[in-house]
């Protein structure tokens, strides 16, 4: 539509999508670059949003529809930014497009999956189940194209999928490509990764079988997750009767991440409703430093408290060990208000792991702070951060920011 240069949005999660779509609907060309084979980012993995307990896919579906019908928006999946140079109004960006091994002819019929002999841990579900080497990231994924995991696919020596595909949609010889873009402004909406729980030695993740993370809990609770919505503990797939939530796992901790991840208290309160919904008898307890339910979220906290959905104890979890007979996790907690030490055995522990900026340690063309977040002010002109790449925030706040950054991106172009 506009003959002006495009806005490049790095990251196709909910913030990046928002920046790109909002700018495009204001009449500007936008390009989304996404590392994953699908758009939607972290929220695509969430079962529900707090406080409405509504599915994120409802909003994603609308956004995908907006992309489909708007010629101003282009997107590249499986793409990474290799290099950025230039100045506001005239940036040169080189992209690396990783091979999908499936081309645009894919119809999503699933015949390839039926014949594929190789399995891989399903990264979308944090390895809690498996997909074939050729797979669709999940059934609502957009774009509707399958993808091959080249780290497990035997390649041309197998070729069963190639034979099964009537549409010539599979190309096992696909190679990485590079692409040069010339854009007017750049918005980094690179989002976050769950903090690596194995780094918190005392909390037992990876050693105590029934310690999971809050993001794993989201996938378990999702109807399209590895357990089809059942909340089962990993060691023996037993329905849980007691669950402990450990807040600030990696957040507000100088040894891990100094910042507060903003969302984990509300996420735990929300996950307590998952338990209550499945079995009102499940005993849930939450160990916290402060319960952070800012603004109108307070109403949600009050509702949870009134319903006794989860017992809240101000306390620091010192360690988590495994009971050898039952494989139950055993927590040792310093109860701050009671001034005593608690030992508690539960069926499963959920670590409320925080958000670590994905761009940490690898920002290309952008300045980061000590915690790895994109610095809000003080970038070169025409370069902006949006969403959790800049600040650890909830979805709504991130999207206010993403919308604002659409305007900043536009200003860089409209001015010239």
């Amino acid at each position: 539509m506009s003959d002006k240069k495009s806005i490049l949005v790095i990251g196709g999660g909910i913030s990046g999508l928002t920046t790109a779509i909002e700018a495009a609907e204001a009449g500007y060309n936008t390009i989304i670059v996404e590392r994953n084979p699908y758009l939607g980012g972290r929220v695509a993995q969430l079962n529900r949003y707090f406080p409405k307990l509504c599915p994120p896919y409802c909003g994603l579906e609308i956004n995908f529809k907006r992309i489909r019908q708007n010629p101003n928006i282009k997107f590249y999946t499986m793409a990474e930014v290799d290099n950025v140079s230039g100045t506001e109004g005239n940036f040169s960006v080189s992209l690396k497009l990783n091979p999908r091994f499936v081309n645009a002819k894919c119809t999503g019929c699933n015949k390839c999956v039926e014949v594929c002999p190789v399995e891989r841990p399903n990264s979308f579900n944090f390895g809690m189940d498996k997909t074939k080497a050729i797979y669709r990231p999940h059934e609502m994924s957009f774009p509707v194209k399958y993808v091959i995991d080249s780290t497990v696919c035997p390649g041309t020596q197998c070729s069963k999928c190639v034979a099964a595909c009537k549409y010539n949609a599979i190309d096992l010889n696909m190679k990485p490509e590079t692409l040069q873009l010339n854009v007017g402004s750049i918005v980094y909406a690179t989002g976050w990764n769950p903090y690596d729980a194995t780094k918190m030695d005392n909390l037992g993740y990876g050693k105590v079988k029934n310690v999971i993370t809050n993001m794993m809990m989201e996938r378990m609770a999702a109807p399209n997750g590895p357990t089809k919505g059942k909340i089962l503990r990993p060691s023996d797939s037993k329905a849980v009767k007691s669950v402990a939530f450990v807040q600030c796992a990696g957040s507000r901790d100088e040894n891990h991440m100094a910042h507060c991840s903003s969302i984990c208290c509300m996420a735990t309160l929300k996950q307590a409703t998952y338990l209550r919904e499945r079995d009102p008898e499940i005993k849930a307890v939450m160990y916290y430093i402060d319960v952070r339910a800012p603004g109108k979220y307070e109403d949600f906290l009050k509702k949870i408290q009134a319903d006794n959905t989860v017992e809240m104890i101000k306390g620091k979890v010192a360690k988590i060990e495994q009971d050898s007979a039952t494989e139950d996790p055993i927590l040792t907690v310093e109860d701050v208000l009671g001034g005593k030490k608690i030992t508690q055995q539960v069926d499963m522990v959920v670590l409320a792991t925080g958000m670590e900026p994905s761009i940490k340690g690898k920002g290309i063309g952008v300045k980061l702070d000590d915690n790895g977040f994109v610095i809000g002010d003080g970038q070169g002109a025409g370069v902006y951060g949006a969403g959790v790449a800049k600040n650890p925030n909830d979805v709504m706040t991130s999207l206010q920011d993403a919308t604002a950054m659409a305007l900043k991106g536009i200003q860089s172009i409209a001015r010239r």
């Binding site: 609907e25 409405k52 909003g59 579906e61 910042h259 109108k296 925030n393």
Partner: protein
């Protein structure tokens, strides 16, 4: 136009469609029964080759209405992307909704596909490509309020090439930010307080030729619609006031907040009774005087106690948390210490809420041994003879009571939206709109009516002069994923008026609102809808000669599109419209339609169905929401779930468009049951047209009485609330309704 229309039907045979269905059978339906002039099948329709077949027919055969019988409307949209201004494209789903959810090659499976094709051809034959209603627009944005959010919105809009007009009721710009002594840090390093920066924004506005400022002014009226709002203001000049009028394209409501009325905290906290009990806002004023001194006698304060959540997180005062107060008290504690190294500061909190990067500031403050922080509850406050205060605290960290002697007690009182008139309690705001309930006497008895206070915007809208609010007077978006989803198209709330937020967030929010205002103006100019049907160029048309002035459409429109003349005839403001079709569903006279969506269209689709004249299995039509229920059905298909074969699905833009005539159309055709599948409604509603599914359910409750009179069971019509990710429940939902219908026996109108 209908004379020129030429329909082409294109059937894809693969992805298992051809193995599951008789393509010949489908072609027969198209050609022999529906007399479609062009009908072709292709083994790979979404290939370049397949699409070329269609393009050739468009170019050579004059096909201008294209029916694609293949996969879901949600996939391959880029391939079947024919110019929407010239051609109408209709997708008939025979893959996910038929071949993938039904056993192959059975009569019932074929019957669904045949019916889907019939409905698709009927839908397209009643559909014309909309002609975009382009218009001249005013590229100026009205910003109501000249505080941080308002100033930001104006500056940011101007930086993108738009004009802005700020209307501020006070005599100067800057709002609350101007009354701050210092700000708390928002970026590293987090150990230094910031000098106030609002003056630079005020200067930027005053020096910007694209921004006009009216001080001492209030809005008398906003009339019109996006792209062309006519604004009348009262602009006080000296003693006299004068009216001015001007036109804007969009409105940003940045009217900010007010401190909670601390006199309500007199009994417990002693505010107003003890001179040295002040609010956090008053503390800024004390600090601005240059030293931290006791209000009672001007003596330097050696001990300051901050009581968090004073009248907050409290059902009797403000039930919510105001987000900023923990940071504000940390900041004030810090400047108390900076002004006097011997002074001590005490912060008594329920939970310290310094989310995100502010944790760094909290941490830096904790390093000062002169700032004492404790989780606790205040038991009592007394005034000593010398004017100092004795604060009794239950210190929960130490597990014991303690008494602190304070020169000043600062109450961390919260923020109230300026949507609320002064003195109105936040926990007693009338639902949906801020106003008062008044009792009116009518011949049918007393009825309660809401009198909405004309307080800020004075909209000339039939549905009331102000923005709807969600709760506590915040005119916020209900949606997590769409924070600017407004119920008044072209009018966006920003800053602390919409929910409690600090200066940093309100700067961001105002920038976002400026983008939305710009976007709305640009889409309006092109005759396009804004979110969620962004880009839709269809427009509702009214056959007013048949209007009976029943006012249902003007009442039910979720976006206040329709005003009324004195008689009650609707007056449309089409650029306010979001194209959901709720008005169309509301109208008993069926006078409202879009060129590509109408009551008649869905009626014709219902009538096109081949309803079995006998059989054990109830035959059901389900009207489904296209945003959530339709994809949910796709997911059932992708998961190869088996669905009851006796259902036919018709997608609607929103269930709010459900017209009751469809119930009669369906049941009089012998259809055994009608199901509506739409979004969840109620407090946590998921409808992006606000109330569509709720409206549908209210309408259904009325039709059920009518059904009773026809000797048809009211339960033959049922509404189901289904979220997009609940597709796993679809098989059970369909079976349950079917079982229930079996209990009633066949529809007695069958075969008539």
């Amino acid at each position: 136009m209908a004379d020129n229309s030429k329909i082409g039907v294109y059937i894809c045979t693969d992805c298992g469609i051809g193995e599951s269905l008789s393509i010949e059978g489908l072609e027969k339906v198209a050609k022999s029964e529906l007399h479609v002039p062009v009908c072709k099948s292709h083994p790979f329709l979404c290939s370049d080759d397949g699409v070329q077949v269609i393009r050739d027919d468009i170019n050579k055969e004059g096909v201008n209405k294209i029916v694609i019988a293949a996969c879901s409307a949600r996939v391959n949209t880029d391939m079947f992307d024919f110019d929407q201004s010239l051609y109408v494209t209709e997708r008939v789903n025979i893959r996910e909704h038929v071949a993938w959810t039904q056993p192959p090659n059975t009569e019932p499976t074929q019957a669904i596909a045949n019916d889907n094709l019939r409905m698709g051809v009927m839908r397209i034959s009643k559909s014309e490509a909309p002609v975009p209603n382009t218009t001249d627009v005013e590229r100026t944005i009205l910003v109501v309020g000249g505080g941080n959010a308002g100033l930001t919105a104006a500056i940011e809009a101007a930086s993108a090439g738009y004009k802005a007009v700020i209307v501020e009721k006070a005599s100067s710009l800057g709002g609350w930010a101007k009354k701050n002594y210092k700000g708390y840090p928002v970026k590293p390093p987090f150990n230094e307080l910031l000098a106030p920066s609002i003056d630079s924004k005020v200067k930027a506005v005053e020096g910007n030729p694209a921004i006009k400022v009216y001080l001492n002014s209030k809005i008398l009226q906003i009339a019109g619609e996006p792209g062309m709002f006519d604004v009348k203001i009262d602009n006080a000049k000296g003693e006299s006031s004068s009216e001015e009028t001007f036109r804007v394209g969009a409105v940003i409501m940045a009217t900010g907040w007010k401190p909670y009325d601390a006199s309500q905290l007199s009994a417990f906290y002693g505010y107003g009774r003890y001179k040295n009990v002040v609010t956090n806002v008053e503390m800024e004023a004390i600090a601005l005087k240059g030293k931290i001194a006791r209000p009672s006698d001007g003596k330097p304060a050696k001990s300051v106690v901050f009581l968090q959540c004073a009248g907050q997180r409290d059902e009797n005062h403000i039930p919510y948390c105001s987000v900023v107060c923990c940071n504000v008290s940390l900041k004030q504690a810090k400047y108390v210490r900076e002004s006097n190294a011997d002074a001590g500061a005490y912060i008594i909190y329920k939970d310290m809420r310094t989310p995100g990067i502010y944790e760094n500031f909290y941490k830096a403050t904790q390093d000062d041994p002169g700032i004492f922080l404790a989780k606790g509850e205040v038991r009592a406050i007394e005034e000593a003879p010398d004017g100092s205060l004795l604060v009794d605290i239950d210190n929960q960290l130490l597990g014991k009571d303690m008494r602190i002697q304070a020169d000043i007690v600062v109450l961390a009182t919260g923020m109230v939206s300026n949507m609320l008139p002064d003195g109105m309690a936040v926990n007693a705001v009338t639902p949906e709109y801020v106003g008062e309930l008044i009792t009116k006497k009518t011949q049918d008895g007393d009825i309660q009516e809401l009198n909405i206070f004309p307080w800020t915007l004075n909209l000339k809208y039939r549905q009331g002069p102000e923005m709807p609010h969600l709760k506590y007077g915040f005119p916020d978006s209900h949606f997590i994923c769409f924070p600017y989803e407004t119920r008044r198209t072209g009018i966006y709330a920003a800053g602390a008026v919409r929910h409690p937020m600090d200066g940093l967030q309100s700067t961001t929010d105002a920038t976002g609102a400026a983008l939305k205002a710009i976007q709305c103006i640009e889409l309006t100019a092109q005759g396009k809808a804004v979110h969620p049907r962004a880009g839709d160029t269809s427009f509702p048309e009214f056959r007013l000669e048949s209007c009976t002035q029943c006012r249902r459409c003007t009442v039910e429109c979720p976006f206040g599109v329709l005003d009324e003349d004195e008689k009650g005839t609707p007056q449309a403001h089409p650029y306010r419209c979001r194209r959901c079709g709720t008005c169309m569903g509301a109208c008993p006279q069926r006078i409202i339609s879009f060129s590509n969506y109408s009551v008649d269209m869905i009626s014709a689709m219902l009538k096109s169905l081949d309803v079995p004249s006998e059989g054990e299995e109830p035959f059901v039509v389900a009207l489904i929401c296209e945003n959530d229920a339709y994809p949910a059905l796709d997911m059932a298909g992708i998961n190869r779930m088996n669905l009851n074969p006796n259902y036919r699905f018709i997608s609607l833009r929103c269930l709010g468009g459900t017209n009751l005539v469809w119930v009669t159309d369906a049941l009089s055709r012998g259809i055994d049951g009608l199901m509506l599948i739409g979004c969840k409604y109620g407090e946590n509603y998921q409808c992006h047209f606000i109330k569509g599914s709720q409206m549908a359910s209210e309408r259904l409750s009325k039709v059920q009485e009518t059904l009773g009179r026809l000797n048809l069971e009211a339960e033959r019509v049922e509404q189901v609330q289904l979220a997009i990710n609940e597709w796993d429940q679809l098989p059970r939902i369909l079976e349950d309704f079917s079982e229930k219908l079996k209990g009633f026996g066949p529809n007695p109108f069958k075969g008539f």
